[in-house]
């Protein structure tokens, strides 16, 4: 997993819950990296999972909700780092439907070793989109947060319903309707 996902996560935790909580979840976790992350490095996903689990236990907030908040924060990072990529889109439905065929293609050019989820478009109209998320990380709520922010970015809102196709959340259907 790319280092920027870790560094931004730790920054957010420190920001929202303070340095003590951050220190706690790092020391509680058994991390290969020792909790030392840089945005340019690459680290194991299992480390993120441990950090999330400990944070969830400590704050009583579900992992899904944590991921949702984190994703909303992370969208800001993307907005700042890749304004050009976002500027190529005029519409949130357009942008979301091209995750697989455009955005992830570009991501792989920058990070050839990135491990990305897939988003298969099942249906698409002018204001609706049905996609299936597949990833063994089961980070569907991270995707949901990014989607919410995408609509916000284009000054609109949407109703997004998640339907788990697999119990463990590795396959999730997103039904998106623009308001």
């Amino acid at each position: 997993m790319k280092g920027i996902v870790f560094t931004e996560f730790l920054d957010l935790v420190e920001d929202k819950f303070g340095l003590e909580v951050l220190d706690k979840i790092i020391t509680q976790s058994n991390l290969e990296s020792g909790g030392i992350y840089t945005s340019v490095g690459t680290y194991k996903f299992s480390e993120m999972l441990q950090l999330l689990q400990h944070l969830s236990a400590h704050t009583d907030i579900s992992i899904d909700d944590l991921l949702l908040v984190y994703a909303e924060h992370f969208f800001g990072v993307l907005e700042e780092s890749y304004p050009g990529l976002l500027a190529t889109y005029k519409d949130p439905i357009e942008m979301l439907s091209s995750i697989e065929n455009h955005i992830h293609v570009e991501v792989r050019k920058i990070y050839p070793d990135a491990e990305l989820p897939t988003f298969e478009v099942l249906e698409k109209t002018e204001d609706s989109l049905v996609m299936v998320y597949k990833s063994n990380r089961a980070m569907h709520h991270f995707g949901l947060g990014l989607m919410n922010k995408t609509f916000e970015h284009f000054n609109s809102t949407a109703t997004i319903v998640l339907e788990k196709l697999k119990e463990d959340g590795t396959e999730v259907k997103f039904v998106i309707n623009k308001n």
């Binding site: 560094t7 340095l19 003590e20 951050l22 220190d23 790092i26 020391t27 020792g34 909790g35 030392i36 992350y37 840089t38 945005s39 340019v40 490095g41």
Partner: protein
């Protein structure tokens, strides 16, 4: 500050420090990677550049050395590039001079060229287009053009063409056609002339024949043996004269190629001939292999076999005469043979006998034209004729006819 807090802050600081070092190390490696990639790029760039230069100079060489005039023009006809041959053909002083090809088209051919140009744009190519141009030196030339459109990302941007000066070839062609026409006409005239002459020559011959007969009749009792013999010599000579004239007529008509070629069954033709020809009882004619069917003129082929077979019969001096006709396939041609067991022909005459009026045997039946006709017919069928002969044993004539 509590010890716990100090410890925590120290841990956080240590993490930050370690992260910085880690980031520095990663970036250091990235920089080295980038440097290496740059070196590689530079190397392949210079390799590509060398390759491009090589290809470029090869193309330039082709462009300059092409024998035909080669011109590249934009879609308005403005010349963008031309080789030395084009400079010469179009009458420029050097390749850098500006010019428009459309302006050089001869006024009478403008409409034609406009149509051709339209075709070029629509189809992408134009082949074998001929039109007149006026060169920079005001010389009219007839040119032959093959052209094609050059596309850039699917859009036509220019046209290239190979231009040939066919002024001279064309005038030669016209000259040749005129000559052929003239030749044909004079051939026809000659033919007609031969007809008239033979007719005109034959009628005084008949008169002489009649007069001689009358004199002979009128003076039947007064003429002695010698005179009567001389009279019969006159008659024989007259007959021969008439035969000679007829043969000349045949010979002159053989050269005329009629267009009516047909499939001729030579087997049927020869068996017909056997019934038509006078074959003495002591002579037998046999066909060894079935003869093929070939494309040709029936009348002439009949004449060919008739002359050779009757020649064979004529010169048989043996008690049992044999004429054998045979054939073999040699690929492009059929090779025929007509073999006899006659008097034979000495080798020194082998060439001569095919020439007109070269009868070896002075008799009233041989005018010396028969074999000349044979040769002419074989020539017409793109074949060859020759013979093998042993004096007193016999002769074999060989000839080939194109399939």
């Amino acid at each position: 500050m509590s010890q716990d807090k100090i410890d925590m802050l120290q841990r956080a600081l240590a993490r930050e420090k370690a992260a910085r070092k880690q980031a520095e190390k990663i970036l250091e490696n990235k920089a080295a990677e980038l440097y290496e990639a740059k070196q590689k790029l530079e190397k392949s760039y210079s390799e590509l550049e060398a390759l491009l230069n090589k290809t470029d100079s090869q193309l330039q060489g082709v462009f300059e050395n092409i024998v035909d005039a080669y011109v590249i023009m934009d879609l308005m006809g403005n010349i963008l590039k031309m080789n030395d041959a084009a400079v010469g053909l179009l009458g420029f002083s050097d390749a850098s001079e500006n010019g428009n090809l459309m302006d050089m088209v001869h006024p009478t051919d403008l409409k034609l060229v406009a149509g051709t140009f339209k075709n070029l744009l629509f189809e992408g190519t134009v082949t074998d287009s001929n039109f007149k141009i006026v060169t920079k030196q005001k010389i009219e030339k007839l040119v032959h053009v093959n052209a094609s459109i050059i596309y850039d990302e699917g859009k036509p941007v220019a046209a290239q063409g190979i231009v040939r000066d066919i002024t001279e070839i064309n005038s030669l062609q016209i000259q040749k056609e005129r000559l052929l026409e003239k030749l044909e006409k004079s051939n026809d005239e000659l033919q007609e002339y031969a007809h008239i002459v033979s007719h005109d020559l034959k009628s005084p011959l008949r008169s002489i024949d009649a007069l001689v007969n009358w004199i002979k009749e009128d003076n039947k009792d007064k003429l002695d043996e010698i005179s009567l013999h001389n009279f019969s010599l006159i008659e024989t000579t007259l007959e021969k004269m008439e035969q000679l004239i007829s043969d000349v007529l045949v010979y002159s008509s053989v050269g005329v190629e009629t267009l009516e070629k047909e499939t001729v069954d030579l087997d049927a033709l020869v068996s017909d001939l056997k019934t038509i020809l006078f074959v003495p009882d002591h002579v037998s004619i046999s066909v060894i292999q079935p003869l093929p069917k070939i494309e040709g003129e029936k009348v002439k082929l009949q004449q060919l076999f008739q002359n050779l077979i009757s020649n064979a019969i004529k010169f048989i001096d043996k008690e049992v005469g044999l004429v054998e006709i045979d054939v073999k396939d040699n690929g492009t041609h059929y090779q025929f043979s007509v073999k006899d067991n006659g008097i034979g022909i000495e080798e020194k005459f082998h060439e001569k006998i095919f020439k007109i009026f070269h009868a070896l045997n002075k008799s009233k039946h041989s005018t010396g034209i028969g074999l000349s006709i044979v040769k002419k017919i074989v020539d017409l069928h793109q074949g060859q004729i020759w013979l093998e002969s042993i004096p007193n044993l016999g002769t074999t004539f060989f000839f080939t006819l194109k399939k």
